[in-house]
């Protein structure tokens, strides 16, 4: 990303920022004002930036999004369809603002808002908040950090395992609003936790979500991380996830992108110590004029690290999907074992996918496999189903669904898996009808 003169559009988004109340914590105020400075120095990326080559985010800058205005909050009945069955805790954020009356926590560990987390665990949070999601050169992470005042805090204490998933639900309700969801998960040594972040909307409005998630795994911690992006079909969604993995930790993530007119998800995973394992899977299912862009980077900075990645895109209509999967194996990260697979299904002649595996290997004793495929539904598979009596449309829908279901099946939360399977089945059915 190029550093340019102060950007008028970013400045307009920042306009609401000075009204944020100062914190009692000096480091927190410093963090935020540093981010404000960076926003002032950065600009909205363009397709001339290598990292944004395939994703033209400029339609965003044509819309003067405003900060969230106080308004009526949805009641629990309006959110019923978004409730995650079996969750041990649920934090609800409405247009980025914490809604305590809609939230609960039955787990016994810290699952709370940023404000109350800072009050009770300020010294635990300080070394991590804003330290992993780099905002020196990333305008959207800087913007989010400049607006830092609310968010989700999860702290899993040493050797505590929580089996019920923790649900962090972001609900968009305001047309024209920009919101800045924030999430920090600190998994202390030997802890086990499952975090589900979900982005939904009540209506099919135009709005802008600029989210940042930071997850830190200490030695031997295990985190399952699920992100479901089903924003409104008109929305813009940009998110930056930064994951820091300690010695012998296990990180498993599944990201599903279904919504938004334009979405961009950056997922940066750093293996900071030896013996780390991570599995990073993703599914983007887009149609009509949607664009879904996923950029991942797995940084093997230390020896004996394992990474597995499966990313799938199903592209219908005139939609586009972008995948850039960088695997960095640093000098000294010997015995790294990495595999990456990008598989893409194009359902129409106008659908498009740009996929780019990017391996940068500076160690000599490593195993790195990668592959990318782009194709249509297999005609032999379609024939096989038809030979069993399935009408052609039903056969195609089932195969499209199956293509995506492989990723969804890796979500470790049964109720969410079931919900998404139904959603993908419905979406693939409606797409074939619309053709």
């Amino acid at each position: 990303m190029t550093v340019a003169a102060p950007n008028r559009y970013l400045a307009s988004l920042l306009a609401g920022q000075p009204q944020l109340p100062a914190s009692l914590l000096a480091w927190f105020n410093d963090l935020r004002s540093h981010a404000v400075d960076r926003v002032g120095a950065l600009s909205v990326p363009t397709t001339r930036d290598e990292e944004w080559r395939f994703t033209d985010i400029s339609p965003l800058t044509g819309i003067p999004f405003h900060p969230v205005r106080g308004g009526s909050k949805p009641d629990i009945a309006q959110l019923a369809e978004f409730i995650l069955t079996g969750a041990g805790a649920g934090l609800v954020f409405v247009d980025g603002e914490y809604a305590p009356l809609l939230s609960f926590n039955n787990t016994g560990i810290t699952v709370t808002s940023l404000a109350s987390g800072l009050a009770s665990h300020g010294t635990v949070i300080e070394p991590h908040l804003g330290r992993h999601a780099e905002f020196q050169s990333n305008a959207f992470a800087a913007l989010n950090t400049a607006f830092l005042h609310d968010g989700a805090i999860v702290i899993a204490p040493r050797n505590v395992a929580v089996s019920a998933p923790l649900h962090v639900l972001h609900v968009a309700t305001q047309k024209g609003a920009a919101s800045y969801p924030r999430c920090l998960v600190i998994a202390e040594p030997g802890s086990v936790v499952t975090v589900v972040e979900e982005f939904v909307a009540l209506q099919n409005d135009v709005y802008f979500t600029d989210a940042v998630t930071e997850i830190v795994l200490a030695d031997g911690a295990r985190v399952h991380h699920v992100r479901v992006q089903r924003e409104s079909g008109q929305a813009f969604h940009v998110s930056n996830c930064a994951i820091s993995l300690g010695r012998a930790s296990h990180y498993q993530s599944v990201s599903v992108a279904l919504g938004a007119r334009i979405s961009r998800c950056n997922l940066n995973v750093v293996q900071t110590a030896e013996g780390v394992e991570c599995a990073i899977d993703g599914l983007a299912l887009v149609a009509e004029q949607q664009l879904a862009d996923t950029h991942t980077c797995i940084d093997h900075a230390q020896p004996h690290g394992v990474s597995r990645q499966l990313h799938k895109c199903i592209v219908d209509g005139a939609a586009r999907a972008v995948f850039n999967g960088k695997i960095l194996v640093r000098q000294g990260a010997q015995r790294t074992d990495s595999s990456q697979s990008s598989r893409n299904l194009l359902l129409t002649s106008k659908a498009r996918v740009d996929t780019k595996p990017q391996l940068e290997i500076f160690a000599d004793d490593v195993k790195c496999a990668h592959g990318a495929t782009v194709g249509q539904l297999d005609s032999e598979e379609v024939f096989y189903l038809m030979s069993r009596g399935f009408p052609e449309a039903a056969a195609r829908n089932l195969l499209t669904y199956a293509f995506g279901a492989e990723v969804i099946s890796r979500i470790p939360v049964a109720s969410l898996r079931h919900k998404l399977e139904q959603r993908v089945l419905a979406q693939t059915n409606s797409q074939s009808v619309s053709k």
Partner: protein, 264 residues
């Protein structure tokens, strides 16, 4: 089994078909009556597999001439799914793997499609589970195969059992089993053949497409046909298969070229 006064189920006349512009079938003639088991044998490249795929309606094959009547209906007018619903079943030589679709879901959807076709009640997942487990016993299949993706990671024998399980569920009038014996060890062959024998009755018919006589030790055909160059050049009873096993195919070909009588 040959039944007296049995009705004709399938009538193939002068069937010619091409793939990628190359003619593979060159005037196939075949009549199958209810209750009968026909074996179609022949060397590689004789057109056996093409014939079975053309009957099932595989889109890669173009029919250029001839007629196929199935229960008096013009089969060639029907799309592959309509042929299946009319009662044609193709057991694949290489069953397709479908990752992401649970076998139980696939089998139930296929079964319910057929039930709907016959105006019968569809089964919900629980009802179907009981039903399919009974059918699986016939093929000595482990119920674990219901939870796995369709054919994914199945051994050759498991795939073929899964094919015959589908035949048992869909209860076709005509089952065309394409090289069902290939890739089977002797135990799997016995089980698969046993399943087919139990499913054969006077209200259906079976066409076995096979290169080797081995399968015919377990499933006794009423007729054995030898194919060469896209048509049937000799027809006999089950003894013909034994003779082919000992003498190979060359003598049939030679006899045919020498102007021996081609069976009608």
């Amino acid at each position: 089994m040959i039944f007296q006064d049995s009705k004709t189920l399938l009538e193939v006349h002068g069937l010619c078909a091409t793939v990628n512009g190359i003619e593979i079938l060159k005037g196939m003639e075949l009549t199958v009556r209810y209750g009968e088991v026909h074996a179609i044998m022949g060397p590689n490249g004789s057109g056996k597999s093409t014939f079975s795929k053309v009957l099932a309606g595989h889109p890669s094959y173009q029919v250029t001439d001839g007629t196929v009547l199935f229960g008096g209906q013009n089969l060639l007018d029907l799309a592959p799914d309509a042929r299946a619903r009319a009662g044609v079943f193709l057991g694949f030589q290489y069953p397709i793997e479908i990752p992401g679709v649970a076998n139980s879901q696939f089998l139930r959807l296929a079964y319910n499609t057929m039930q709907a076709q016959h105006g019968k009640d569809e089964l919900d997942p629980l009802e179907f589970d009981d039903f399919v487990r009974e059918k699986m016993k016939l093929l000595e299949m482990n119920p674990d195969f219901l939870d796995r993706s369709v054919n994914e990671g199945f051994s050759g024998g498991e795939k073929k059992r899964n094919e015959i399980l589908q035949m048992a569920l869909l209860a076709p009038r005509l089952a065309i089993l394409d090289e069902t014996d290939s890739g089977l060890d002797i135990d799997a062959l016995r089980v698969v053949a046993g399943g087919v024998n139990q499913l054969a009755n006077k209200d259906n018919a079976i066409i076995l497409v096979t290169h080797y006589q081995r399968l015919l030790n377990y499933i006794k055909p009423d007729y054995v046909h030898v194919m060469e160059s896209g048509r049937i050049i000799k027809t006999g009873g089950k003894d013909l298969a034994v003779e082919l096993e000992t003498r190979g195919y060359d003598w049939v070909s030679a006899e045919n070229k020498a102007g021996a009588v081609v069976p009608a």
